[in-house]
């Protein structure tokens, strides 16, 4: 029996993977072929989706992008034997340069296994980290994470080990509090940044690695309960995670007696409801508690006063998913990747107008240019690349002069950018950077939690001022006003929503000033 793989990942599905799988199943039946369909995760080579793979003795052979109508011809031309005669054949999957030149640690299984099969997960080194963690003292687990140099992958890059140590040391006895005695692990799966999809790809393609990472975090800090705060914009991830949790419970990887150890860890999913600010950890905690997602002033830190007032680890999906490898292979093995104070690998996400968009996991230190051209293949439109936004909607728009900066937390910060969650959004030369600056303010206006005036009112004014600049009304005065406004937002905002919205606005002004001085067309645009 030959395995044929068709991904069940959102991007593959968005391009018709279900119809491809249906057609394939039908043809296999009609032709009485000895083959079975496996719905895997995506390899993250999105320009080839739907990517169909076939097992051969020499490894998997890839075909893509496949439409249902390609299936008969592919089968006629011996796809099931791994034949390369059809033009959609991409050769051995692992030999596709985009994939071959990556360093996949966190994503080592994604696209390879059936995401819901615990047997698959185990056969590909799954749960080794957890098994080791169960033999260690809590503080030894934290030692291992500290040794790895792992920093938070959600944006702020705070050392994960240090956060865990704080929660481990925190006293959870809160007399009179309903949750006294408990600590929590909260996984931030709100992935709100445009241009990022690594959390989603991982949750859909290898949910058990996140579950394993959260259980290990629980053992490390003494937490018995975890929540995954998942954005509601991810219905497919929701389905897959829900099923994975049910199966993990049934097989003793979650629940009251973890692998017979007598230890407990319960895991629940909570859905967000379309509010970008709920990705900010304290707003997320309020939302988790059933409130409006308002940002809390810090201190107290979530590590001391987190979910339901108890000591809480809040970590991004990718931070937690890096932990099983760190426990299985040792912190040092992870720290051997990377540069400077950025250790390990970062899953970069190539998005927007690129010929080869997708997931690229690499050690820190690769340049933006290499990601854009060697991996991304330049624009999909064929026009010149012009601007690149790195690190989400609060990140700067960088022009070509900055593309040789290595992707490293400190180096990017020195260049006025940020790695953030590793999202890279590319624009060709048809982009109007004044409109992009306007959108940054508009997004802040729509998504502000409303707690501080500079953010709430500043964003409204920001949109108006940029509109006046675009319409060429008192341009000089309004440009000065916009700079003032950016300064006020930066200085007077409680969180990065208001505080960093100036990044994309100012970088657009600084690097693309001509776009703010275009002749007016009377068209106010989107």
């Amino acid at each position: 029996m030959i395995n044929v793989y068709v991904p069940r990942d959102t991007t593959a599905l968005s391009l018709g993977a279900d119809a491809v799988a249906d057609r394939l199943a039908r043809e296999i039946l009609q032709r009485s072929l000895s083959a079975q369909l496996v719905r895997n995760g995506s390899r993250g080579l999105f320009w080839l989706e739907p990517l169909v793979e076939v097992d051969t003795p020499q490894g998997r052979v890839a075909y893509g992008p496949v439409t249902p109508d390609d299936i008969p011809a592919l089968l006629d031309q011996e796809m099931l034997d791994g034949s390369n005669s059809h033009p959609l054949c991409q050769g051995y999957t692992e030999a596709i340069p985009y994939l071959q030149s990556q360093q996949r640690l966190t994503f080592s299984r994604v696209g390879i296994t059936d995401p819901l099969s615990i047997a698959d997960y185990r056969n590909h080194d799954g749960f080794r980290g957890l098994e080791r963690a169960l033999t260690l003292e809590a503080s030894q687990i934290v030692d291992e994470v500290e040794r790895s140099g792992l920093r938070g992958r959600g944006g702020a890059a705070f050392p994960a080990g240090r956060k865990w140590r704080t929660v481990l040391d925190a006293d959870s006895e809160r007399p009179g509090q309903p949750w006294s005695g408990h600590k929590f692990i909260v996984c931030n799966a709100d992935e709100g940044d445009s241009g990022t999809f690594a959390d989603r790809l991982l949750m859909e393609g290898d949910p058990y690695v996140l579950i394993e990472g959260m259980v290990i975090a629980g053992l490390a800090v003494g937490a018995d309960t975890g929540f995954i705060y998942l954005r509601s914009e991810y219905p497919n991830a929701h389905r897959i995670l829900t099923e994975a949790i049910t199966r993990a419970e049934a097989e003793g990887y979650l629940g009251t007696n973890l692998l017979g150890s007598g230890r407990t860890f319960h895991l629940y999913i909570r859905l967000g409801a379309e509010a970008y600010i709920c990705g900010e950890e304290t707003a997320m905690l309020d939302s988790l508690e059933g409130k409006r997602g308002m940002v809390r002033a810090k201190p107290p830190l979530p590590a001391h006063h987190g979910a339901f007032g108890q000591p809480t680890v809040v970590n991004n999906v990718l931070t937690l998913a890096a932990v099983p490898t760190i426990l299985a292979e040792g912190g040092q093995a992870y720290a051997d990747y990377g540069m400077g104070r950025s250790r390990g690998t970062q899953p970069f996400q190539l998005a927007g107008n690129l010929a080869r968009g997708g997931l690229v996991e690499l050690a820190f230190g690769v340049t933006l240019r290499s990601l854009l051209y060697d991996f991304g293949g330049g624009t999909e439109s064929g026009r010149p690349l012009r601007a690149v936004q790195v690190g989400g909607p609060l990140g700067a728009y960088l022009p070509e002069g900055h593309w040789d900066t290595p992707m490293d937390y400190e180096a990017m910060a020195d260049a006025g950018g940020m790695v953030g969650h590793g999202g890279i959004v590319a624009f060709d030369d048809s982009v109007d950077m004044a409109q992009q600056a306007r959108f940054a303010m508009e997004f802040c206006r729509v998504e502000s939690c409303g707690k501080c005036t500079p953010c709430r009112i500043g964003a409204v004014r920001g949109v108006e001022v940029i509109d006046r600049i675009i319409a060429d009304q008192d341009r000089t005065d309004n440009l000065a006003l916009l700079q003032d406004l950016c300064h006020t937002m930066e200085m007077g905002s409680l969180c990065a929503m208001g505080g960093m919205t100036p990044n994309p606005v100012r970088s657009a002004l600084q690097y693309f000033p001509d776009d703010f001085a275009r002749p007016t067309t009377g068209n106010e645009g989107g």
Binding site: L13, G195, S232, A275, E289
Partner: protein, 180 residues
């Protein structure tokens, strides 16, 4: 969409409250369940929710209005969300939005006159390398150019509700409401 029958609504609410009220931080899961059931969160359900969770009605309203994902008004038979975030902009979503508005004759947050389609923006569906992205129910579509949008709208509106056999299966009604 019709107002739910009040007695049915009370019965369903009793069930939903029983299923959710003991969860830690029960309000959001309960609101999601209510919206999934009725297609929106009817004002008439707020008192029961508030009472069950020992909150004031104002608090419950405050939460509903804070989140873009909760609706206190019914929407059209289909909820069509078009991604308006940067990576989709880089792939033509601004043009797609314009085209869709014109084609439907509505702006964002509005429903077509025939009650078929409510148009909403969404800020990222995690499909950022193959946008413009669109969500319809629990389905996400990629590379949606204006021609693909026209085909989608044709498909969605081909079978008007009044000609469909009743009752709708739970699955299709979920898809239509686009609720979570």
């Amino acid at each position: 969409m019709q107002e739910p029958n009040i007695n049915d609504q009370d019965d369903r609410m009793t069930q939903l409250i029983e299923q959710h009220q003991h969860l830690p931080g029960a309000l959001l899961p309960l609101l999601h369940a209510v919206q999934q059931t009725f297609g929106y969160i009817p004002h008439t359900t707020v008192p029961a929710i508030a009472e069950a969770l020992a909150l004031s009605r104002a608090e419950v309203h405050g939460v509903i209005s804070f989140y873009h994902g909760f609706r206190s008004q019914p929407c059209g038979r289909h909820l069509l969300q078009v991604c308006c975030a940067e990576a989709c902009q880089a792939r033509g979503s601004r043009e797609l939005v314009e085209h869709t508005r014109q084609k439907l004759g509505v702006d964002f947050h509005q429903t077509t006159a025939d009650g078929e389609i409510t148009l909403e923006p969404v800020y990222c569906l995690g499909n950022c390398a193959t946008g413009p992205s669109v969500r319809i129910g629990d389905q996400i579509l990629g590379r949606v150019d204006p021609a693909a949008m026209d085909r989608l709208l044709d498909d969605l509106t081909r079978v008007p509700l009044r000609f469909q056999s009743q009752p709708m299966t739970p699955e299709t009604s979920d898809t239509k409401r686009g609720a979570q």
